[in-house]
């Protein structure tokens, strides 16, 4: 018999954060956690100290972060950047106040967002280029290297070099593409689809298709492992983790981690280890090690408190989460 009590729960290492409103997204700005809230505020938490700023006149619909600033898109038609300190600054404003429900940042500080059927890309020097689409562009993500933007839309994903006159390349696949992810090595583009599936392309002269199906609902949260070899996804009653070694997941079965009687709503891979944070729509959070499928409880289920946001800090020592009822928290992993 093993007499040493192993920690099966990380609950006592979680510090609660009272966000008070649906948490749309959360990101670490160095030591400060920024939470984008559905009432337009950005809440900043620094080791227990809270302050909040009014970033949008309406609600926040989308949020991204690059470690220096939180960039949010709102239903007031504005794109706003909020740093760890000081007042938010407006980056763009749509004259028709159309929703900005997709924003993305690149590692070098380029930014992209949507309004209506138009995508706007702003390079790190501040030059904005816009491109119109026939249907609403939804998912936006920059390539890991270079100024190239992937845009999810009806019947495919466009790859656009905003600083050239060249027409975007279309990765076509029938259906509506919602969120887009680019693999860390740049070889794969993956989209989540209205049809409860993921679709992937292995880039090259002739892009190869990868179909990842079988989800009971839309997989709206995707996360790459730090080594780029695994892609975790939400949308089922377990986190579905697809293998991206070699040629990708075609013909291979995915891993299913943390099966429970609830739908996985968010997933986030640890930035340095094969450990996956899994959040469910019943409020539960599990930490799962991919190598041996061991599970640790971070947060027990709580009715009406479905997980809506995750953020690991850069070193992977702290995991922040937010929920639909305005609950939030920070887990600090115990030193081992």
């Amino acid at each position: 018999m093993d007499t040493i009590t192993k920690p099966v729960s990380l609950r006592e290492h979680v510090v609660p954060v009272e966000a008070g409103e649906h948490v749309v997204g959360t990101h670490w700005l160095k030591a400060t956690l920024a939470l984008a809230l559905s009432d337009g505020r950005v809440l900043r938490w620094t080791d227990g100290a809270l302050d909040n700023v009014e970033a949008h006149a309406g609600g926040i619909l989308s949020a991204c972060g690059d470690g220096e600033r939180l960039v949010t898109g709102g239903d007031d038609g504005r794109v706003v950047a909020t740093a760890a300190e000081g007042e938010p600054t407006e980056i763009a404003r749509d004259p028709k106040r159309r929703w900005v429900d997709a924003v993305t940042l690149s590692a070098s500080g380029s930014l992209a967002w949507n309004t209506g059927k138009t995508v706007h890309a702003r390079d790190d020097k501040g030059k904005v280029r816009s491109l119109d689409f026939a249907t609403t562009p939804q998912g936006l993500v920059f390539a890991p290297k270079g100024y190239r933007l992937a845009i999810g839309q009806m019947n495919g994903v466009s790859l656009w070099y905003p600083n050239t006159e060249a027409k975007p390349d279309l990765l076509d696949w029938k259906g509506s593409h919602l969120d887009v992810m680019w693999s860390p090595d740049g070889r794969f583009v993956v989209s989540s689809m209205q049809e409860n599936a993921l679709h992937g392309w292995r880039l090259g002269d002739k892009p190869a298709h990868m179909r990842m199906t079988g989800y009971p609902s839309k997989p709206r949260s995707l996360s790459w492992s730090h080594d780029g070899l695994w892609l975790a996804s939400s949308g089922a009653d377990a986190a579905i983790v697809w293998p991206f070694q070699g040629e990708g997941p075609s013909g291979k079965a995915p891993r299913e981690c943390g099966a429970r009687h609830a739908k996985v709503s968010r997933v986030a891979f640890h930035p340095r280890a094969l450990v996956l944070a899994v959040g469910y729509d019943d409020g539960c959070i599990l930490m799962i090690r991919l190598t041996d499928a061991s599970e640790l409880l971070v947060r027990p289920a709580l009715r009406g408190s479905g997980i809506t946001a995750f953020a690991w800090d850069k070193t992977g020592k702290r995991l922040a989460f937010g929920a639909e009822d305005g609950a939030a928290g920070v887990l600090t992993l115990p030193a081992t």
Binding site: G59, R98, Q194, E195
Partner: protein, 320 residues
């Protein structure tokens, strides 16, 4: 599971009075807060707390169902609105005069996230007593909107004679005899006649359509969009009925605008209630048949170019 937010769809041909009705709903003293989704090029002058512009983007679903279309923009907007739950009590979706209501309705059945958070309450169609008969001749959209409605607001009745009104009412009833019909001037209908209808709630199909199980409407030859109903005065065999109704909805889904049914299954104490929009069917066993209630099985189709004899024979072959 928290309470689902009711969604009312407001449709109607251009100039019928949709905006008037919308403003009545929004400004009346009912203590409710609404989020309103209007089409981008809609008429100005809507008062309200939370107004969202939509662009009526239709998605074809890749699920092998040819008539299965959903409103992509609606899915996106509802997803955004759900982040602000608690800020409004109900949602109203206004469509353009030319819109087909089917993709809007299908969105609530096909998209699970939408279906989990919201429920379709009713399709309200505003029509113009003076011009409707012309529109029914020249605009297929107007016909679809009548066929689809749970509630019809027949507006501007002050502009027509009694005979004209009777004639336009007959034209509406030929297409859709089941909707609640309100004859109005400047859309003056009590708001509680429009909201909380639960028209798509299987539990409530009888409550809102008290005539539903009474014996048949005669079908009308006047138009290619029409309704038909079939009754079996007793039980049906589910082993025969389920494959048949699935075949019918697969083969004739594009022509069937709406379908409803209340059925007595052999050896089943509960009533089986179903409804459909094109190919999408939703059905469940509901309450027990009451002791004083005659067990009977009845189906209603509203559709375009449906073969009544074939459908009747097919249904009658399902008798237990």
């Amino acid at each position: 599971m928290s309470e689902k937010i009711p969604v009312t769809v407001l449709t109607g041909y251009l100039g019928a009075g949709k905006t008037t009705l919308l403003n009545r709903i929004l400004t009346e003293d009912h203590g409710k807060k609404f989020a309103v989704i209007v089409n981008e090029f809609g008429e100005a002058g809507i008062d309200g707390d939370l107004i969202v512009g939509a662009d009526e983007e239709i998605f074809e679903m890749n699920n092998g169902c040819i008539c299965c279309t959903v409103r992509g923009d609606l899915i996106r907007i509802l997803d955004g609105l759900m982040k602000r739950k608690g800020k409004f009590d109900a949602i109203i979706v206004e469509t353009t005069g030319l819109a087909d209501p089917a993709p809007v309705a299908q969105t609530f059945f096909v998209d699970q996230d939408v279906g989990d958070a919201t429920k379709l309450d009713a399709v309200i169609t505003v029509t113009d007593a003076k011009w409707l008969k012309d529109r029914l001749k020249d605009a297929p959209e107007a016909k679809n909107q009548i066929a689809f409605a749970d509630v019809i607001v027949l507006n501007k009745v002050d502009l027509v004679t009694a005979e004209e009104l009777a004639s336009v009412e007959a034209a509406i009833r030929a297409i859709n005899p089941y909707a609640k019909l309100h004859k109005t001037t400047r859309c003056d209908v009590a708001i509680d006649q429009l909201l909380d209808r639960n028209a798509f709630d299987l539990d409530r199909i009888l409550d809102i359509e008290p005539d539903f199980l009474e014996s048949g409407h005669h079908h009308h030859h006047s138009d290619e969009v029409r309704s038909m109903s079939f009754t079996i005065p007793g039980d049906v065999d589910p082993e025969k009925f389920m494959p048949w109704i699935n075949d019918v909805s697969q083969a004739q889904g594009p022509q069937i605008l709406r379908s409803k049914g209340i059925l007595a299954f052999k050896d089943e104490p509960r009533r089986f209630v179903f409804q459909g929009v094109h190919m999408i069917l939703d059905g469940d066993l509901q309450r027990d048949w009451k002791a004083d209630e005659a067990r009977s099985s009845r189906l209603v189709f509203i559709g375009r170019d449906l073969n009544e004899n074939e459908l009747r024979k097919g249904f009658e072959a399902c008798a237990a």
